[in-house]
Amino acid sequence: MNIYAYIFRRLLYVIPVILGVCAIIFLIFNVVAPDPALIILGKHATAEQVVEIRQQLGLNKPMLSQYFDIVRSAFTFDFGRSWSTKQEISEMIKAGAVPSATLSFPAFFISTILGISISLLVAFYRGSMFDKVTVVGCVTLMSVSSLAYILFGQWFFAYKLGWFEISGYDYGFPYFIPYILLPAIIWVMLSVGPDVRFYRTIMLDEIYQDYIRTARAKGLSERVILFKHVLKNAMIPIITYVVIQIPFLILGALLLESFFSIPGLGSITLNAINSSDFPVIRAMTVLSAVAYIIFSVITDVLYTLVDPRVRLS
């Protein structure tokens, strides 16, 4: 099969997956979830009120058309209005995207660079005390609850020492920087552990390959081997790992945004969860699922383009 046919088929596969995602969302929110009319009106609603609100929310439409509304929203991004704020959800998403991006992209960039650099160092000194201490350190970092990092950081570094803003957000460069500093540092602390472990495994996988033995046998220095051969070949899984994380940046860091009062998509989502605002929760779910699907296609295609060993099947 040639590569274009493969890419075409991979793109076609997006359709059943999107239909499936919408089916799960539909099942959860429109079929098995408790009746939204009762959530909004409370337990003491009269029958007329329930009928009226169901009419307003479009809950009396046939099931199939409710399902197709969700499928349509995955393509048009028209999610209707929020139940609690009555705002257009697509407008809310546009407003929340900027604060989320100003936190998540710098933090993601720094933690990725840091993770790759540390893992290169660790791979260079593999088996040494430094390697062992780093690995145990990473595991320890990963073993602390993310909530504990946030609570302790906010209390100690922002409240007690006053080094950072406790919470809040300001729009525009460079005004947002003081507000994202501490959340970004916590983000890096949270992700550097798993990142270093993952990248280290990849590097070590490459180091034990035959071509590295050949390189060593012909007299290349460890440094040349590491940077010219190992890093270059490890780039394929590294890029895959990085690209597949990007869609998760969309929801931002739910907890970080909510604790530091950053009005991003994560905060919007958590507020929606707290107020049982189904349309917003549904919209965020559809949005991040579509992003995930698109990026996994990109990863797959990149993989086949870059790595000739990947068989197209």
Partner: protein, 287 residues
């Protein structure tokens, strides 16, 4: 039976290697201690009086109460012990649910291939496209709050990675000679799959078990913060969540106790998981 002898030697080899590794052995002991504590708490031997007020509100750590007291004057130490029961049961039940789903679907997909495989792969691709936290919240919405919700929400959402691994491994095994031999003497599909192939991929399940156990313990905290966790009894998640109001008044001991209790057991599971992988994964042997 030769396969029996060989699999025994793999396990014995793994066990010996684990015993040589001091760090892994310590982790195993730590996990065992936590398990014993959880069982004793469940039986009412330990921390049965956690609800009793033993002193003034927010009394700081003292000799008598090493982790201090909370807002109602309850001993934070007793609450931490009580939380161990929740954490260990969440880890265990969640892992069992996800292993059951993951192994069954993965084995069926890998063994039968074709339409069954396509269907299962489609299902988990769809499933992973939805962010984990949204699925957990959605399940909690449907089931209401409580321990059962925590079990199901975490268990039903954490089987995909294991399913993928098992599928790949079963695919690799299904055409091997020993499976053909089992077929030649009249073994059916189910017999070949569950009696012959599955024991040979069991090491993946064990490694995955120790990882999913600690992920579940960590996720319980997030669910508690979202207000979807256990109700009416202490858990580490609820203790950490309480701390968000306490810290401003300088009450740090509840956060410290829950974080420390969690750190130790999660760290132990992490180290154990790595050691198990090194000991059980034949691909890593000799490295």
């Amino acid at each position: 039976m030769s396969s029996n002898v060989q699999s025994k030697s793999l396990w014995r080899h793994a066990f010996e290697q684990l015993c040589k590794d001091k760090l892994a052995l310590t982790s195993l002991i730590i996990v065992a201690v936590y398990a014993v504590v959880a069982i004793l708490v469940a039986c009412g031997v330990l921390a049965s009086d956690w609800e009793k007020s033993v002193g003034p509100s927010y009394n700081p750590p003292s000799l008598e109460h090493p982790f201090g007291l909370d807002i109602f004057g309850m001993s934070v130490w007793a609450k931490t012990l009580k939380g161990t029961e929740v954490a260990m049961s969440v880890g265990l039940v969640t892992s069992l649910i996800s292993i059951t789903i993951g192994v069954t679907l993965g084995a069926l997909a890998g063994y039968f291939g074709g339409k069954i495989d396509e269907g299962i792969v489609w299902f988990y691709t769809t499933f992973t496209s939805i962010p984990y936290i949204m699925l957990v919240v959605a399940i909690a919405f449907i089931l209401g709050k409580g321990l059962m919700t925590v079990y199901l929400a975490l268990g039903l959402t954490s089987w995909v990675s294991l399913c993928r691994l098992i599928r790949g491994e079963v695919m690799r095994h299904k055409d091997r000679e020993y499976v053909q031999a089992a077929g030649a003497i009249g073994g059916g599909d189910m017999r070949k799959l569950f009696i012959h192939i599955l024991p040979n991929v069991l090491h993946i399940v064990i490694i995955n078990f120790s990882l999913s156990f600690q992920t579940a313990i960590k996720s319980e905290v997030i669910l508690s913060y979202l207000g979807l966790g256990v109700q009416g009894r202490p858990s580490w998640g609820i203790m950490i969540d309480d701390a968000k109001l306490e810290l401003a008044r300088g009450v740090w001991w509840q956060l410290a106790a829950a974080t420390l209790a969690m750190l130790i057991v999660v760290l132990a599971f992490n180290i154990l998981g790595d050691a198990l992988r090194d000991a059980l994964d034949p691909k890593l042997k000799g490295k």
